[in-house]
């Protein structure tokens, strides 16, 4: 078994299935399970329908916001881990990786328990509301005008907010780890030299830390953006009717709609977009290095 060349494994488990899907995307649906390979472009043409383009756009939008939010949240975390005492650094890293040890489905259901109308967040908010209410009453003020007569739970679940929140939660480690890797590699004397030359901590962060961590930032952006773009479970479980992403549409083509050719076409469009993002990254890093040399 182990003597089989890796090329065979790659062919059997990767290239052949992918080629099949690629062929399906040029096929015509005949009956329940039959697909005729007619080299039609109709599936791709259908994907250009504004309905689907809009979902593509929405997927980009969600993935983009998720990636940006991940970057903003992950940077302080990565810095904190880098500068933590070496004894507790492995523990902090473990905490970042720990979610990977739990099934995504279970983690998503846990998020539902946190965000739903009678979830932990709303419990917390209600507790605060009660407290505020009591204080206002104590001072003889009428709370109904200020904070409402009754506590109304915040609608946190089954909407776009829940999807982005869930995506950030799921993808945060993908951003923290490459950032940490590049910060940890960074020679501390660059930061010390900057402080020594009169720069404030904030200025040092902007002028030295961020540019030197750029490879990590770009890696983090890409490996967060790509899986976020193809997310299926999170929008499916946390989203409302208008927050489905492209992967949900693809899933439906393969299952309930039973339109494999169209699902295949959508899959490949998503894949081409991913390749395009990676190519843009390669171009960016090449330009970056020629800029260094110039």
């Amino acid at each position: 078994m182990l003597g089989v060349p890796p090329g065979i494994w790659l062919t059997v488990f990767f290239i052949i299935p992918l080629s099949l899907i690629w062929l399906f995307s040029f096929g015509d649906k005949r009956g329940l399970i039959d697909i005729d390979l007619t080299w039609t472009m109709a599936n791709y043409a259908r994907a250009m329908d504004p309905l689907y383009l809009q979902i593509f756009l929405k997927s980009f939008w969600f993935a983009g916001i998720t990636t940006l939010a991940c970057l903003l949240v992950a940077f302080p975390i990565a810095i904190a881990i880098t500068f933590a005492p070496s004894r507790i650094r492995p523990i902090l890293l473990l905490l970042v990786i720990l979610p990977f040890w739990t099934n995504l489905l279970i983690r998503t259901y846990a998020l539902i328990a946190v965000l739903r109308t009678k979830g932990y967040v709303n419990f917390g908010l209600e507790y605060l509301w009660d407290g505020l209410n009591a204080i206002l009453l104590f001072f003889g003020m009428d709370p109904s005008g200020l904070i409402g007569e009754r506590f109304t739970p915040a609608p946190l679940l089954y909407n776009n907010f829940a999807v982005v929140f869930g995506l950030v939660y799921v993808h945060l480690p993908f951003m923290v780890l490459p950032l940490y890797a590049s910060l940890d590699r960074m020679d501390r004397s660059y930061l010390e030299a900057s402080l020594d030359l009169g720069a404030t901590q904030f200025r040092t962060f902007l002028s030295i830390t961020v540019p030197l961590a750029m490879p990590g930032i770009i890696s983090g952006l890409i490996i967060t953006f790509i899986p976020a773009l193809g997310s299926f479970l999170t929008p499916d479980l946390l989203g409302g009717t208008d927050s489905q992403m492209i992967a949900n549409v693809i899933e439906r083509q393969f299952k309930s709609a039973n339109d494999w050719p169209f699902g295949s076409a959508l899959s490949f469009i998503l894949m081409y977009i991913t390749f395009f993002v990676l190519a843009a990254r390669a171009l960016f890093s090449k330009r970056g290095s020629t800029m260094d040399a110039g």
Binding site: D187, S189, Y190, E192, A193, S194, L195, D196, L197, G198, A199, T200, R203, S207, I208, P211, L212, D292, A293, G294
Partner: protein
């Protein structure tokens, strides 16, 4: 040189990292315009002391005054001090010009003044034509000049240099030593250099502090450090030294030194010495002489057998055995091509002036 004004005053400074004592209760003053070296083996705490001056480490105890001001709680970016890092820390994503200008830019110096300052600093380190280069196009020596210019452009009261020459090859190192001294004379800024290289410290510094295990062993001018080391550590660390256990007896105006492995000597009583505390005598290899015949009585002499010879080009190190198995190292300068060199196994006389011997605690 004008040694009128104290620019750095370190009093009873200690630094502990957990249970490790890196710097142990040291006091030291450095004068304005001085070229001062902190010299010691690696891990002796000299870099920690330097980093405390820069504000990159906070002393556990003690006080540091720079230009008369207490530096307690003053962050590195508010100290009138700049540092050249051992790794140079030249920012890899900035050109030479941007690197040198960084310290001015972040403090809001306007563009024309900045350009003028940067170009003057680059000229000072002879990198005037390199302003648009990126650091990865520079050699180690050029990067160091950039780091130097970047610190000098800030016109600091004190320039700190952490092992500045350790990454350079021998030839360049020697050239840079001279250049640093010249530069220091031109700019008139106080230089404090950390080094483990005694040649570097001896040749460049006005004064040297020899540090061992976090404690300053001796502060003096290079020649004093070499010729009159304060104790056994300094004697052993600086240059080569033959050290022998010895005891000293007082007889009125003179003292008698008894070194069981070598012999006994009588010398006039030095003023600044407590005979009870002396436990060793020492003689530098180059202060000994090797002769075929017994020299006259003004020198101390003893018969010796040559056990090993190491030729170093400009000099030859000859190891001889005196008495029962006591080895002594002698250095003979190779002053002439026709000079006769002894061979292993030869017997000869080794001699030195008793005054050249050191009494060590």
């Amino acid at each position: 040189m004008n040694h009128a004004k104290t620019v750095i005053e370190i009093s009873n400074v200690s630094k502990r990292f957990g249970s490790v004592v890196a710097v142990d209760d040291n006091s030291l003053t450095i004068q304005e315009g001085e070229f001062f070296a902190l010299l010691g083996p690696s891990g002796c705490g000299k870099t920690t002391l330097l980093r405390m001056l820069a504000g990159l480490e906070v002393p556990t105890e003690g006080k540091i005054l720079i230009d008369g001001e207490d530096m307690h709680g003053v962050p590195p970016n508010h100290r009138p001090i700049n540092m050249v890092f051992q790794s140079y820390a030249v920012f890899p994503h900035m050109t030479v010009f941007e690197n040198v200008g960084y310290g001015l830019k972040v403090t809001g110096v306007p563009e024309p003044t900045l350009r003028e300052g940067v170009m003057a600093a680059l000229d000072q380190v002879q990198l005037g034509d390199y302003q648009d280069r990126m650091p990865d196009q520079l050699s180690g020596g050029q990067k160091q000049r950039v780091a130097l210019a970047r610190a000098l452009v800030k016109k600091p009261k004190v320039l700190l240099l952490d092992e500045p020459l350790s990454a350079l090859d021998a030839k360049l190192r020697e050239a840079m030593q001279l250049e640093l001294v010249k530069l220091q004379n031109t700019v008139g800024i106080t230089f404090v250099i950390v080094t483990h290289d005694q040649d570097e410290a001896l040749s460049m510094a006005d004064r040297i502090a020899v540090i061992n295990e976090g404690k300053i062993e001796q502060i003096a001018e290079p020649r004093t450090i070499y010729e009159f080391p304060a104790n056994r550590f300094v004697a052993d660390f600086i240059g080569k030294m033959n050290v022998f256990d010895a005891r000293v007896k007082e007889n009125g105006d003179s003292i008698t030194i008894e070194a069981p492995d070598v012999g006994s000597f009588s010398v006039s009583h030095p003023e600044d010495i407590e005979p009870d505390r002396i436990n060793a005598v020492a003689i530098r290899p180059e202060k000994t002489r090797l002769t075929a015949k017994r020299p006259d009585d003004s020198l101390f002499s003893t018969e010796a057998q040559i056990v090993n010879i190491a030729y170093h080009g400009k000099e030859t190190a000859i190891f001889v055995e005196i008495g029962q198995g006591t080895e002594l190292s002698c250095t003979v300068p190779n002053t002439s091509r026709s000079q006769h060199l002894p061979k292993t196994g030869d017997t000869c006389w080794v001699s030195w002036q008793v005054d050249d011997m050191l009494l060590l605690e």
